[in-house]
Structures are given as C-alpha cells and as structure tokens.
Symmetry: C2
Subunit: 318 residues, 2 copies
C-alpha cells in the first residue's frame, strides 16, 4: 500500500523514544522547540550510516534503526554527556510500511532506554541511509575530550573490542562454526550497545576518551594525536570474549581486537593510581587496562610500532 511521505512520517516517526518535559514542541512544525536546563553545556554530534558502507545490504530494519541511534549515543558516551534529543533523516528507495515500522521499533526501544526523545524527522526518497543528530547535556567543564591524555596515564577499554568485526565476518559468511559460538558475535555487530553509563562515570576520572568505531589502534591513534602523546599496548592484556576465543585462533583474535571496527566501546585514559572500583561497579560493562600512554608519538604493540594494517581503521575513501 503506497502512502504519502507526510503520512509516513506522522505515523511512524512521531512520538518515538522517551517522553521529555523539556520538549516543548516535537515533530510536526518547521523545527522542534526545546528547553535546555540552566547552566549546562550541550554536546552535539551527527552521524550517517549508509547501506553497503556501514551495514550490509539486507540487514533487518530494526537493527538499522538501533544502529543509527547507537552510533550517535556512543558519541554522547565518549563525551560523558547525558543524551536528550535526537533528529533523524531517513532516505528510502521505496516507502515500505513494514520496514518503517520495524526501523521505528529498533530506534524507539534504544531511545527509551537512554531517555532520548526523537524531536524531528525528515524522510526522502533515495538510496537507503539514515542520519541522526543528537544533543546531550554535560556540567560545565566536565566533558571528556580526546586531548587530555598525559605520559604515564593508563589506557583502558570497555567490553571486548573485535567482537563486532568478527560478527560482521560471520554475517558475510567468512567465519564458520557452531551457532552457539557465532551468534553472540553476530549480535555484537547487529546490536552495538552504547556505553552511556560508563561515560557518565568517567566524567570525574578520565583524562581523555574516544569511542572505538573505526578500530582500537586507529581510534587510539586519534586520541594520541589530539593529546600530543604516543601509546604502548600490551596485547596479552587485551580482553577477549569466550565467543571470540571459540571462533578463531589467537592470531586472528588479536587482529580483530586491534583493528576491527564497529564495537562502540569506550577507550579512555586514567591518571596512574586512579581508583577504578566505581567504574567496575557502576559503568555497566567490564573495563580492562591494556597499556600506557608514552611521551613519544606513535602506537607500539608489544614493543613494535603498529603496522599500517592495524592503524588503518575504517576510512571510507582509502
């Protein structure tokens, strides 16, 4: 049943996500009207995901709806911001009601869990892609930046990076094995979990923070460049999920962990001697120390400079 654009937007994209009292006017006018709380700073980011570039062709609509919000919530997490308001644009080759309903459900469920309201939307005909612009709140001066790491700081990471890249390999038919082992990896790719709670815990602790979207070594390189430092990673400390250990040999696991993308874990630095008890208890995800910040530029892994295949990360135009 073909239906019109405005009707589509009205039906599936209005009233998505959390109800918030600071949304004075939501979807349906030329702009949303929002009331920021007094005395805060706003953190604001935008990210697009494109079919065939950021997710495989034919990925379920609910996973796409989840993903486009998750990658933006992850930016809020990396800043230590509390997410509040999201705007969405969705480009679709055809107006398919079932697809839109599933997409809306995936986005809605994640938004509600993070107290985020969808306050504006725009749907157009075109190749399948989605963009979210997100805004969150941070107390003045408490945002986590990439630029604060100092030599001697410990390098920490949340979760088990590499699982998402291994999960993508599963989806692409490049990894074989029993379903009980492969399914958790597939889920880590399909349903990345933004580490918003951990980001809030890190506000008063971390000297620098970034989310791991393009690969651990690549994103650590960006953090180091912003901070004017280098890093030494110890690959024996890298966290590995039992699924990863069961699915591939140790050398492949090392590569996935260091160079895989799409995990949306947090990579952060702590001054030496920081009390990490709060993080372990309150962040909602395990965190692991994996190395130390060095004065000299460059990333070393087990004493050797990281090669281009690790640093590369995910760069759409190379």
């Amino acid at each position: 049943m073909p239906i019109g654009e405005f009707e589509l937007i009205e039906r599936y994209l209005s009233r998505l996500g959390a109800h918030r009292d600071d949304v004075l006017l939501g979807i349906g006018d030329d702009a949303a009207l929002l009331r920021p709380p007094p005395g805060i700073e706003l953190a604001s980011a935008i990210d697009t995901i494109v079919e065939g570039v950021h997710f495989p062709v034919g990925m379920p609509a609910a996973d796409i709806g989840h993903r486009v919000l998750a990658v933006n919530l992850s930016d809020m997490a990396a800043m230590g911001a509390e997410p509040a308001w999201a705007l969405l644009t969705l480009t679709l080759p055809v107006a398919d009601e079932a697809w839109l309903r599933d997409f809306a459900t995936g986005l809605h469920d994640l938004a509600r869990r993070h107290g985020t309201a969808l306050v504006g939307g725009d749907t157009t005909a075109g190749p399948l892609m989605a963009t979210v612009a997100i805004t969150g709140f941070v107390p003045p001066g408490q945002a986590l930046r990439r630029s604060g790491a100092r030599p001697g700081d410990e390098i920490w990471v949340s979760g088990t990076p590499g699982d998402a890249a291994a999960g993508l390999a599963v989806l692409q038919g490049k990894l074989d094995g029993p379903d009980a082992i492969l399914e958790p990896l597939r889920q880590r790719f399909l349903r990345p979990e933004p580490r918003v709670g951990l980001g809030l815990c890190l506000r008063s602790m971390a000297s620098a923070c970034i989310d791991v979207s393009d690969g651990l070594v690549g994103d650590l390189g960006k953090l180091c460049e912003s901070s004017g430092v280098g890093a030494e990673l110890d690959s024996t400390l890298l966290p590995r999920s039992s699924a990863m250990r069961g699915a591939v040999d140790p050398e492949a696991a090392r590569r996935f962990t260091l160079a895989g993308g799409d995990d949306y874990e947090l990579l952060f630095t702590l001054p030496p001697g920081s009390d990490t008890g709060l993080l372990q208890r309150g962040g909602g995800v395990a965190v692991t120390r994996i190395g130390v910040i060095a004065a000299a530029a460059g990333i070393a892994v087990d004493g050797e400079p990281a090669g281009r295949e690790l640093v590369h990360g995910f760069d759409h135009f190379r």
Copy 2:
C-alpha cells in the same frame, strides 16, 4: 589526488561559517561542546537534500553547499529563531578536492552571513547527498508555530513564489527565452535566500508561519491543518516577478506561483489590522497580502476549491 576521509574533513569542513564564542569545542572530537545563552528556547531542525530528488544531477558544488544550509536556515526563519550552530553530513561517491572546496565555499558564505557556525561534520562514501541539522535561539514563548492561524487573519507571503520552480524548468530545458529574463529565475532556484530577518520581525506579529518549500497551496494546507482552519486565496493579489511575467503566460505564472516548490519564502498569517510597516521596512524582502483565513477547512483559490494539482506540492513518495 586521492586523500583520506579524516584529512578531507579536517581540511574543508573545519572552521566553516561564523566564529562564535558559544562554541567551546568545534569539529575534531566525538561531539561539539556548545553553551546556550541563559533563558532561551532552542529551535532544532534537520533536512537532507539528495541529488536527483532535491536538486538536479550535475548542479555546481557551491550551489549544493548553499542549498543544504539554506533549507535549514529557512526552518529557523519559519520559527522566528536566530540560527547559531549547524552539523553537516556529506555523502560523496568519490573524494574530489575541487568539488569539496566549492561545496565548502557555498556553505561557508551563507553561514557567515547568518552568524552560523559549523560545529560538526561527518563525511562518508555513498550517493551524493547532504544533511544539515541546525539549532537556533528563540525567547521563551515567542516561536512562530503553524498552529495559531484564526479565521479572519490575513494571509501574507514574502518574495515572489514560483520563481524557483520556473528556474528549475529553465535548468531542465523546459523554458526558453532571452537570458536576461531566464537568468534571474535560474538564480532563484540555485540560490534560495532564507528569510531569517523577516522571521525575527514576525516574532511579535504573526499568528502562524511556515516556509514555502513544497508549494504555496500545499504548505498553506499544512498551516491550515495545524491551525484547524481553511483559507481563501485571491490569485489577482499573488506577487509576480518581472522575470516570471516576461518568461511565461499568466496562466503558467499562476500555476508556478501556487504549486511550484523550492522558494523558501515565508507564508504567514497576521491578525486583521496588523501594522505591517515594520515588516515592509525591516524584513529585508517585500511581503504581500494574498488572502484570508476562513473557518471552514480547505483551500479555495478565487472562490473555487484548490484542485489536487495545486495542493499536491512536492511529495517524494507519491
């Protein structure tokens, strides 16, 4: 010369637009950090333009950069908001430096004129399209909404709607004539001028406002639906540019004016007897009274119900 994504963003999209003291951290981290002024409301909108849908294939890059910001500034104008911060995502089939430079210039020039800073960006490989999310400021309770029109209110419009649609027809080779007549129309399509100053003037005056992006009758229909009213237009009052009068016969001009899109003029309602002297002097564009709000639903033109070909507007999925 192929160059990497991050380098591309760094080089062409950082420091675009106005410098603003309320931008604490711009492009280069996981999110921008912004300080809203105390006691204001935020107006926030997002719009995508897609090659082949919202602009013709092969349109110059500078015009595309102008356009993606202009359509969003127009949303700020329609709310009576003062634009402040913009986020951009750009999807490109290939990384072309000359194209990017021109795109950035088009966006930058318009942003500077409207005091808007580009505070975040994301560039990905994909079909040519661009999205801007924009945020502006409004004093509490003063935003212009679509929903406040009352029977008896006068209907006004800025500029000369229809010129952009005629300009697109020129670009598509569907309109012939001397260049001196066609060039102003072409420019009205290529370089829409968001009516931000007029929107600010309307804050204390208009009962309702919308921008004309999909066609005058279609957008008036949305305003009326939001307000629970109808409208009577007098086509003899419709403003016509000298270019329009020179390019087409009166019947074609009437159609372009009532049903053409892409003008980004403001369509607004004023309580009867409003003093429009301030608008005429301060809005930066001529404004014209074209009809009156009625109690009964529906749009009439010269006493006849507007047909589907006028109401239709620009709906991507029909």
